[in-house]
C-alpha cells in the first residue's frame, strides 16, 4: 500500500541518506528517523499555511503517530546525542506538532453540535449560584428604581437616558404613554432597528461579562443600574394604570433579552467569584477554568440577543395586542427555562 501512495504525494521526499556513511552512532540514529521528521514537517507546513484541504486523509491520520515518533526521538536524542542543531530542530518540530495535535478542533460544526446538544445548557447549570445572585440583584435593582422614581421625579430623569424618554416622562398623559407602547403598521426600518439593537445589547452583555474580571463587583453594578432604569419606567407606566400593557410590551423580547443579560452578569460574577475564592487551585488556574466555562455561556448569550433583537423589532412592532404579546414573551421564557434546566443530555466533557 505504502509504496504506491508514495508516488502520489505532492512533494516527494528526498532519497534515503546513506546511513552507514555516518561515523557517529547518534548520527546514524538521526539518519534512520530523518524521513519521518521531514514528512511530519511537510504536513505541518501545509497545515500552518491554512491549506487544510491539501493535507490528505492519510497524512492527517498519521499526524498523531508522527508526532509521538518525533517526541520519542527527541527524548532519546537528549540522552544520547550532542548535536545541538539536531536537538534544536527536533524541539521546534515537536513544539509545532504539539500546536497542531493539541490545537483547537477546527470543525466548527462539531463544536456547534456539542454546544447546542447540551454543552451550553450544562455550563449554564453550573452557574446556578451566580444566576441566583444576579437574579436577586436584578429584582432589587428594579425595586430600587421604582422606589426612587416614586419618591422623587428627578430620579426618573437621572435613571432613564433622555434619548429613550421621548414622550415617556413623568406627568405625560395616558394617551401619550399608550401610544408609545403601540406598534407601527409598516415594515420599513425594522430590520435596521433590530440589527442596531442587537449590536448595542451584545456590547452591554459582553461588558457585563468582562467586568467580572474585577471580582464581579462591576458586573453587579451594571445589572443594578440597567434594572433600575427598568424599575423607573415601570413606575411611570403604573402611575398611568398601564402596568400590564407595559409588562406585555416589555416581555415580548424582554424575557429573552433580560435572561441573556442575567446570564452575562452571572458569567462575569462566576469569574469574579472563582478569583476571590479559588479553593484548592491557584487563582490563575481557577480564573482559567471559570473563564472558559463562562465563555461558553457568553457565546450562547450573543445568540439569545440575536433572537431578542428580532423579537424586539419585528414582533413587538407588529403584534399590538397585549395578550398576544404576553403569550409570546411567556412562551420564550418557558422555552429557555426548559432548554437550560430540563434538557439534561450528557455530554462527554464540556471543555471543548
Amino acid at each position: 500500500m505504502k509504496p504506491i501512495t508514495q508516488f502520489f504525494r505532492s512533494k516527494p521526499i528526498e532519497d534515503l541518506p546513506d546511513i552507514e556513511a555516518a561515523a557517529l552512532r547518534s548520527d546514524r540514529f538521526r539518519l534512520e528517523r530523518e524521513q519521518d521528521w521531514k514528512r511530519l514537517e511537510a504536513i505541518l507546513k501545509r497545515m500552518e499555511s491554512g491549506r487544510l484541504r491539501k493535507v490528505s486523509d492519510e497524512d492527517l491520520l498519521d499526524l498523531p503517530a508522527l508526532y509521538r515518533t518525533a517526541a520519542s526521538s527527541l527524548a532519546i536524542a537528549r540522552e544520547t546525542s550532542l548535536d545541538a542543531a539536531t536537538l534544536a530542530y527536533l524541539e521546534s518540530l515537536v513544539q509545532r506538532a504539539w500546536f497542531q495535535v493539541y490545537g483547537p478542533r477546527t470543525s466548527l460544526i462539531g463544536w456547534l453540535r456539542r454546544f447546542f446538544g447540551g454543552g451550553w445548557s450544562a455550563s449554564v447549570r453550573e452557574l446556578w449560584l451566580e444566576i441566583c445572585v444576579a437574579l436577586a440583584v436584578m429584582v432589587a435593582g428594579t425595586i430600587v428604581g421604582w422606589v426612587l422614581a416614586a419618591r422623587d421625579e428627578a430620579w426618573y430623569y437621572s435613571l432613564v437616558p433622555t434619548q429613550f424618554a421621548d414622550a415617556r416622562v413623568p406627568g405625560a398623559s395616558r394617551e401619550a404613554l399608550e401610544k408609545s407602547l403601540s406598534g407601527v403598521e409598516k415594515l420599513d426600518g425594522l430590520s435596521f432597528f433590530s440589527a442596531f439593537l442587537f449590536s448595542n445589547n451584545a456590547r452591554v452583555a459582553i461588558l457585563a461579562f468582562a467586568l467580572g474580571f474585577a471580582f464581579g463587583i462591576p458586573s453587579l453594578m451594571l445589572l443594578m443600574q440597567n434594572l433600575a432604569t427598568l424599575g423607573a419606567m415601570l413606575w411611570l407606566f403604573s402611575e398611568a394604570g398601564l402596568t400590564v400593557d407595559f409588562i406585555a410590551w416589555l416581555s415580548i423580547h424582554g424575557t429573552t433579552e433580560l435572561f441573556a443579560i442575567l446570564l452575562a452578569g452571572a458569567a462575569g460574577l462566576h469569574i469574579g467569584r472563582s478569583m476571590a475564592f479559588p479553593g484548592n487551585r491557584t487563582v490563575v488556574a481557577a480564573a482559567a477554568a471559570a473563564g472558559q466555562r463562562s465563555a461558553q455561556v457568553m457565546a450562547g448569550v450573543v445568540l439569545m440577543l440575536v433572537v431578542a433583537a428580532v423579537l424586539e423589532s419585528f414582533a413587538r412592532q407588529l403584534v399590538t395586542d397585549t395578550n398576544a404579546r404576553l403569550a409570546i414573551g411567556g412562551t420564550m421564557l418557558a422555552f429557555w427555562l426548559a432548554y437550560f434546566f430540563a434538557f439534561r443530555r450528557r455530554v462527554d466533557g464540556n471543555t471543548e
Binding site: 541518506p17 546513506d18 555516518a22 561515523a23 557517529l24 547518534s26 548520527d27 538521526r30 539518519l31 500552518e48 491554512g50 487544510l52 517526541a71 527524548a75 540522552e79 544520547t80 546525542s81 550532542l82 548535536d83 545541538a84 542543531a85 539536531t86 530542530y89 524541539e91 521546534s92 515537536v94 509545532r96 504539539w98 500546536f99 497542531q100 493539541y102 483547537p104 478542533r105 477546527t106 466548527l108 420599513d188 430590520s191 435596521f192 433590530s194 440589527a195 442587537f198 449590536s199 459582553i206 461588558l207 461579562f209 468582562a210 467586568l211 474580571f213 490563575v284 480564573a287 482559567a288 471559570a290 473563564g291 472558559q292 465563555a295 461558553q296 457568553m298 457565546a299 471543555t351 471543548e352
Partner: protein, 296 residues
C-alpha cells in the same frame, strides 16, 4: 545593548512546557514589544478593511439612492451593522481558531497563542480571551475617541482604565494580558528551525583528510580536555564555515592539546577533532557521565 544582556532577557522568557505525553519542551514567551506590534498591525488591518467596506457600501448606496429603492438601502444598513460587529468580534476569533493560532499581525510578528498548562487549546479559551479584549482595548478607545473634545474627570478615568489593562502584561512574569489570565492561554514565539546536515558524514569525520591524506587520530589525553559546551561551539563554527574563524579555532585547539596541524587543512582537522570528541562524550553520556565544559 550588549549580547549578554540580550541573552539574559531571552532567558527570562524561557519556559518549560510539559506535554500530555510527559515530554518537556522549551518554549519562549513572546516579548511584549512583539505583541504590541502585532496588535497595532491587527488594528490597522481591521481599520483599513472596515473603512474600505464602508466606502464600498456608501458607493453602492449612492447608486441605489438615485434609483430610489428604500428597502435595498435598509438592507445595506443592516449589512453594515452586522459586518462591523463581525469585524470587531470575529476577526480575532476566526484567525486564532485556525491551525496557525495567530492573527495576521501575530503571524508577521512570529508569535501565536497556546494553552498555558500544556493541554489542549479549547474553542472556549479563544472565545474568552477575545471577549475580554473588548473591555481592555476597544471600549475605552471608542470612549476616548467619541468624547475627545469633552475632557474632564470621565476622560481621565477612562484613560486610567486603558492604562491599567495595557500595562497589565508588565505586572506578571508571563506577560499575560487580562484575557490570557481568564482564558488560561499565553502567547509564545513560533519556532522555526531547519534540519541541518548531519556532521559525521564526510571522510574527514573518520579522521582522514581528503585534501592532504593526513590521518588525524586523537588520544585519550587530547580528547579529555574539552566538554559539551566547547563541542557545541565547535559545531557552530563548522556549520558557519567561516575560513578565518576555522583557522583561529584550529590554532586555539592545537595550542591547547599541544598539536601542530599543517595550515590549509584546518577544516578537515576540526571535523576529525569534532567527530572524535563527540564520539567520546556521547559514549560517556551513555554511561551516565556528562562533562558540561572544560572546567568540569
Amino acid at each position: 545593548m550588549s549580547t549578554s544582556r540580550i541573552a539574559r532577557r531571552l532567558d527570562k522568557r524561557k519556559r518549560v512546557l510539559v506535554t500530555p505525553e510527559g515530554l518537556s519542551l522549551p518554549i519562549t514567551i513572546a516579548s511584549r514589544g512583539a505583541r504590541a506590534s502585532a496588535l497595532l498591525l491587527d488594528l490597522i488591518i481591521m481599520t483599513v478593511v472596515q473603512v474600505v467596506f464602508t466606502i464600498l457600501l456608501i458607493a453602492l448606496a449612492g447608486g441605489i439612492f438615485s434609483s430610489g429603492a428604500s428597502s435595498a438601502l435598509e438592507f445595506m444598513g443592516v449589512a453594515w451593522i452586522i459586518a462591523m460587529f463581525l469585524f470587531r468580534y470575529g476577526y480575532f476569533l476566526y484567525f486564532e481558531l485556525s491551525p496557525r493560532g495567530a492573527t495576521p499581525g501575530k503571524r508577521l510578528a512570529g508569535i501565536r497563542i497556546a494553552a498555558r498548562e500544556g493541554g489542549r487549546l479549547s474553542v472556549n479559551a479563544v472565545i474568552a480571551r477575545n471577549l475580554l479584549r473588548d473591555i481592555e482595548i476597544f471600549l475605552p478607545l471608542i470612549y476616548l475617541v467619541t468624547s475627545a473634545g469633552g475632557g474632564g474627570a470621565a476622560n481621565w478615568a477612562i484613560f486610567a482604565w486603558l492604562a491599567i489593562f495595557l500595562l497589565f502584561p508588565f505586572f506578571n512574569r508571563d506577560a499575560m494580558r487580562a484575557g490570557d489570565l481568564i482564558a488560561g492561554t499565553w502567547v509564545v514565539e513560533v519556532p522555526r528551525r531547519k534540519l541541518e546536515q548531519a556532521m559525521s558524514l564526510g571522510e574527514a569525520a573518520r579522521g582522514r583528510s581528503v585534501a592532504t591524506g593526513a590521518e588525524y587520530r586523537f588520544g585519550e589525553r587530547e580528547l579529555s580536555i574539552y566538554g559539551e559546551y566547547e563541542l557545541q561551539t565547535l559545531e557552530r563554527v563548522l556549520r558557519e564555515n567561516n575560513a578565518e574563524a576555522l583557522v583561529a579555532v584550529a590554532t586555539a585547539i592545537c595550542n591547547k592539546i599541544g598539536w601542530s596541524a599543517g595550515s590549509g587543512d584546518e577544516r578537515a582537522f576540526l571535523e576529525a577533532f569534532y567527530a572524535q570528541l563527540r564520539a567520546r562524550l556521547e559514549r560517556d553520556m551513555r554511561f551516565g557521565k556528562r562533562k558540561a565544559d572544560k572546567f568540569s
